[in-house]
């Protein structure tokens, strides 16, 4: 007889549906119970083609490598060389992405500033304005201009080292923001000119411009207000990336930020996170194509984000043509988010270390994604800052190791020619050959 059972004692003859698996069943029943869609933090959880599907070709007989630890492999990058009087000089090509005060606690924002400043890179404000702590602890701070314009003010604009016009975000291209009432403390309410405790909606479109022609005029105004000093970034969620990048360049951007669909968020509908936008991998390729076609590659710098975790991800993004990357989720994890240390606390709120994504809820036991003073007080910004600095150093060392192995004296010298793909999908999207072949699916077809 074949009536055995699996490790959970479930008889083998029970068959779970592929379409209606237990997670799908649980979600249907949750929706039926609560009558509202699931809002959560984190990025897409489904598997999509990513940098893991690429490999670097180290040097051998036909190329020679650099001597590890002896021969220099530089990592500095300058952003905003096109129009700005004072471009941003970063010591490493890894920046901290925009995350709002409101979504994150004040000590968490401080830690990001401390860590980034220690290794010579920038942090970014978010949908909620600039706090003095953040400005104080970030040597280089990028100030976001978002559709909500919460806290927007010309003094902060002048205090910033660069300005980022946010058109969209990879987690929700075409979507607005949301900060649920339980995260609206007095301070957050005050900064955003809204009553305390209400669910705050952020608009999905800018209030005073629509379309690329207006964007050009808007960028012109920001330059006039700041006397043409500051680099102006334009951030887009990855969708029609080729066209969006070209339009942003034509509108006068100094730097383009492209955020792939895996990009993290503090609070977005799950259906949005998982189903809108294209992965980071094809987005880099399309952005570089757009820049090259305009003869603007390396003149307008490209920052890529969405799922950057390791120095390998950094090296591969740069090899595909990015000038820098930025990180959100990984930075929170580096500061202790989802750490097994907090397993018991996660269990109390119905989650588990490694699964926690309720960054919208404000009950973060680690004190990062909360506005609760007691929870936030658990988080030590100095320790958090050290961890961010350590993590950024490791990413940099890893990227350098890989670049040296490919014979590069600067990480920005990595190139598509150093890459091969493990899957046909990745080969087609990144437009590098499938490993062991000279086949780039789709390459014969022009864009």
């Amino acid at each position: 007889m074949s009536d055995g059972s699996d490790a959970n004692g479930r008889p083998w003859n029970l068959r779970e549906s592929y379409l209606f698996d237990r997670a799908v069943i649980a979600e249907i029943q949750r929706a039926a119970r609560e009558g509202i869609y699931d809002i959560r933090g984190f990025g897409a959880k489904r598997r999509v083609p990513h940098f893991d599907d690429l490999l670097l070709l180290g040097a051998s007989v036909s190329r020679y490598p650099l001597e590890g630890y002896r021969e220099r492999c530089d990592t500095d990058v300058v952003l905003g060389t096109r129009h700005a009087k004072t471009p941003l000089h970063l010591r490493i090509p890894i920046t901290i992405a925009g995350m709002s005060f409101g979504a994150l606690s004040a000590p968490a924002k401080e830690a990001l500033g401390r860590g980034a400043s220690e290794v010579g890179t920038s942090t970014t404000t978010g949908d909620g304005g600039m706090t003095p702590e953040e400005r104080g602890h970030s040597k280089l701070l990028v100030y976001q201009l978002l559709p909500s314009r919460y806290g927007m003010n010309p003094d902060d604009l002048r205090k910033a080292d660069a300005i980022e016009v946010v058109v969209g975000q990879g987690a929700k291209p075409g979507g607005g923001g949301m900060l649920l009432g339980h995260k609206i403390s007095d301070r957050v309410a005050e900064m955003r000119d809204l009553p305390k405790g209400i669910d705050q909606r952020s608009a999905s479109r800018h209030p005073d411009w629509t379309g690329p022609d207006d964007l050009e005029i808007k960028i012109g105004e920001l330059r006039e207000i700041t006397d043409w000093e500051k680099p102006i970034f334009v951030k887009v969620g990855a969708t029609r990336t080729y066209y969006d990048v070209q339009l942003a360049v034509k509108a006068g951007a100094d730097v383009i930020v492209v955020d792939g669909m895996q990009g993290g968020t503090a609070a977005t509908q799950d259906v949005f996170i998982e189903h809108v936008g294209i992965p980071t991998l094809p987005a880099v390729r399309l952005a570089v194509d757009a820049l090259q076609e305009l003869d603007m590659h390396r003149k307008v710098q490209l920052i890529v984000s969405g799922g950057i975790r390791s120095g390998a991800d950094v090296a591969k993004a740069l090899a595909l043509g990015a000038d820098a990357v930025s990180i959100g989720t990984a930075a929170l994890i580096a500061m202790g988010d989802n750490s097994p240390e907090y397993e018991r606390e996660y269990a109390k709120i119905g989650s588990s270390a490694g699964y926690y994504d309720d960054w919208q809820a404000g009950r973060d036991p680690v004190g990062i994604s909360t506005q609760d003073d007691e929870l936030a007080a658990r988080f030590d910004p100095e320790l958090g800052g050290r961890r961010i600095a350590n993590y950024l150093r490791v990413l940099t060392l890893e990227a350098q190791t890989l670049a040296r192995a490919c014979g590069k004296t600067h990480v920005l010298n990595l190139e598509p020619e150093d890459l091969v793909a493990l899957t046909i999908e990745a080969a087609a999207m990144a437009r590098v050959p499938l490993a062991g072949t000279d086949w780039i699916p789709g390459a014969e077809r022009s864009l």
Binding site: I198, K218, E221, I225
Partner: protein, 239 residues
């Protein structure tokens, strides 16, 4: 040019037909940093230029003789900017303080996201006047277009003429006063009783804006029903 003339009376004239915009704005900004220099400026031949007199941060009087394009007096602080003509989209967007006065009409998004100060438009303002306003006061002698005061958070919008469709859609705590017809109210915007305190508030605003020929008691008041303040599934149709 009268750059070194006695400050109180001197009027610095800048001709945008010959002076680059960047130079004009740069000089106006320098006054905030240095504190010295002429306080009264006349800008001639604006010819619809964008971003004229934006980012000011000092107690200046700037008179603009003609029409301006987008974002005139954007993010203004402290200064008084007068446009003797019409203004394009985004007039005084994100104004913090000071005054922006337009003799003619203003295009869409006048006073968008403004956080303080006063805007007075003698003619009409177009659609989305006061969109997402966060504390600014806006007084329009004529009418405003559709979706005005969309998501307006704080501050006061006074319309002496009519208001277009969907006034105050998704309104937060801004106060809206309209003397004429309202074509339609947006989601969560309702008419509220005009009590004495509101008549007084309006009287003060009108006086401040130099409007003395309309009766504050003839206005209707609109505000938020506050039904969309927390996300409830029963309101799904309104979102």
């Amino acid at each position: 040019m009268t750059a070194n003339a006695p400050e109180a009376t001197a009027v610095e004239v800048v001709d945008l037909a010959v002076t680059p915009l960047r130079e004009l704005n740069g000089r106006l900004h320098e006054l905030a940093r240095d504190g010295a220099g002429p306080r009264h400026w006349r800008v001639v031949n604006p010819n619809g230029a964008h971003a004229v007199a934006c980012g000011l941060d000092a107690e200046l009087e700037v008179e603009i003789e003609g029409h301006v394009g987008y974002y005139c007096a954007g993010m203004n602080k402290l200064a008084t900017v007068r446009v003797h003509g019409n203004a394009g989209p985004g007039l005084a967007e994100n104004i913090m303080s000071g005054r922006v006065l337009v003799d003619g009409s203003a295009s869409q998004y006048a006073g968008a996201t403004g956080r303080g100060g006063l805007i007075v438009v003698q003619g009409d303002a177009s659609s989305r006047c006061g969109i997402s306003m966060k504390g600014v006061d806006i007084v329009v002698r004529g009418s405003v277009g559709h979706m005005s005061a969309f998501m307006a958070q704080r501050g006061r919008l006074v319309v002496c003429g009519d208001a277009g469709e969907a006034l105050g859609d998704s309104l937060y705590e801004a106060h809206l006063y309209v003397a004429g017809e309202v074509a339609g109210l947006g989601a969560d915007c309702v008419e509220k009783p005009m009590r004495d305190e509101h008549v007084e508030e309006l009287r003060g605003l009108l006086a401040d804006a130099g409007v003395d020929d309309v009766d504050p008691a003839s206005f209707r008041r609109y505000g938020s029903a506050r039904q969309l303040y927390t996300f409830k599934v029963d309101n799904a149709a309104a979102y």
